[in-house]
């Protein structure tokens, strides 16, 4: 087991190559030359990324380009084999304690919601605060209700996930992640499994969340969302970050040919 650094000097992050002028320059996620293989298949080929606190990043790219794999590495649902990932000053290694520390601070929302079907909405939201953060029950429930109100479904608190629509389930999933009071939220195509009329209700919640100063990384093909909310947009293809730019530049003046082609496909169909 590697005993590498846990507490990085915050000064390091000041030297990061890409920086958003809008935000305080405190790096909260740092990815350095990160590689991942599935067996012999090289999925992620040397990714570099610095994310500042409060920054909103949108990742897009063709299916199979490694977007999901990338953000799942950030909370160690997948492990990387080379390079470094440092989240909130904790490096992700085999050390289980460090992984747990990171996961407490990183919330994740999945394409297929992944709510726990045997628990009510409220119980879904309270589970991790109760058992991981050891919050007293009353407090956990109060917090849960607060977030359920924020995603506009407090009246569903005592239903089971199976009794809700897709859009409602996804909003519960967002509330569930927020109940852990994470510093970072990861979204993996949160609207891709939804019927068109439900996409907006989920996006509204995400826009509201972005306005609150949460650090967010969203894999999504909702380009409207990217334009209005993102600080930077990443285009990934074949396991590489091909382009990384503020949305104005990304959409009006993409540098790479592959990005231009992708945008043409996604915006004109």
């Amino acid at each position: 087991m590697t005993e590498q650094n846990t507490a990085l000097n915050p000064e390091d992050s000041r030297t990061s190559p890409v920086e958003s002028a809008k935000h305080a320059d405190k790096t909260i996620i740092k990815v350095v030359d990160m590689h991942k293989w599935y067996g012999t298949f090289h999925v992620l080929k040397g990714l570099n990324l610095d994310v500042n606190e409060g920054e909103r990043i949108v990742i897009c790219g063709p299916s199979g380009s490694g977007k999901s794999t990338f953000i799942r590495c950030i909370n160690r649902l997948e492990e990387h084999q080379r390079g470094q990932i440092i989240v909130d000053n904790v490096e992700l290694t085999d050390d289980v304690k460090q992984i747990d520390t990171v996961r407490k601070e990183v919330g994740m929302v999945f394409q297929h919601f992944n709510l726990f079907p045997h628990l009510t909405v409220l119980e879904n939201c309270c589970l991790a605060p109760l058992w991981v953060r050891k919050v007293p029950k009353r407090e956990a429930e109060a917090t849960a209700m607060e977030y359920l109100e924020r995603v506009k479904i407090p009246e569903q608190a005592h239903k089971y996930p199976g009794q809700l629509s897709g859009g409602q389930q996804q909003r519960v999933a967002i509330a569930r992640a927020l109940c852990m009071k994470p510093k970072i939220m990861l979204f993996d195509e949160p609207t891709s499994a939804l019927d068109p009329e439900m996409i907006k209700e989920v996006l509204d919640v995400m826009v509201e969340l972005a306005g609150s100063g949460m650090t967010m990384i969203c894999v999504t093909h909702e380009m409207g969302f990217a334009k209005t909310v993102a600080d930077r947009v990443i285009f990934m293809d074949e396991g590489e970050i091909v382009e990384l730019a503020p949305p104005e530049e990304f959409f009006t003046n993409p540098r790479e040919a592959r990005t231009q082609q992708f945008l043409k496909q996604i915006l004109h169909h």
Partner: protein, 361 residues
Amino acid sequence: MSLPSELPPRQEIGVIGWVRKNLFSSWYNIVLTLVAAYLVVTSVGPLLNWVFLEATFTGETAADCSGEGACWLFIGQRLNFFIYGFYPDALQWRIDIMFGLLAVAFAPQFIERFPARKWFGIFGLTGLPLIGYILIPGGWFGLEEVPSSRWGGLMLTLILAYVGILAALPIGTVLALGRRSDMPIIRGLCVVFIEVWRAVPLITVLFMASVMLPLFLPDGVNFEKLMRALIGIILWQSAYMAEVVRGGLQAIPKGQYEAASALGLGYWRKTGLVILPQALTLVIPGIVNTFISLFKDTTLVLIIGLFDILGAVQSTITDPAWRNVTTEGYVFVAFCFWIFCFGMSRYSQNLERKLDTGHKS
């Protein structure tokens, strides 16, 4: 029986309609209905006669059983032996208390609106066996000791099944988790355990437990025969249970594990709070099926000289004092088993309905 007058005629038409649609819809349906009706009438009549109308219920000795019907008198006369085995008469109140507690713990489970029935169930799984452990063998708190060689009948059947069931579910669950573990040594041990025990017939296990185990144990260390049989049953049953539970674990989508991990739940909490509740709910029919077959398999202890209810009845029906009562004896045993197994089956259906939250994610 006449229908209550307030029933609207539409419903009556409904009944006739149902009969016509389901019993007389076509010529072969009519033939089937008539044949079935003939069989029912010809068999139910004599059966009723034998079981009730011509049967003997009261009396003292075999001589009172003169009718053509069943001699239930025999069961009544020997009931004490069938239920308690050789347990001393004066101490049978201890077993009666256990029967009472068993009923108190589990009868509420069949009544939907019973208050705090969950706690009755929890008592049945924790307090009840503990009390039984003190009360049945005695030897504690001034209770007279009753060696396990004197236990028998229904009481012994229930002890074997109850302990086997109670121990096999948790041990089987741990084995199933072990078999899916990332750690090769743990996984290997669990696979070997499961595959060895599952491949051996229970009869062999019981024989080994009663005959061979003492040979391997160091001098001076010895368990009672009943204890050895119980250990054998538990280990054998755990291996079966492990495979049932593993089936449930495999049916849980990967997303559930990932969501739990992403929330920061470690292995044990993830397993205990998210995975197992779903996996076990999913395999309730399989679990209860295993329980039911264990309950019936306990009759095999007969071959190592333990007198469970079947053994008790079998040893009595050869009694020359009674005329041929073989059928009565076996019908009685079958009925006892049926009561408990049917109870388990009904309970599992209740549980399944209650735990169904309308969505398998």
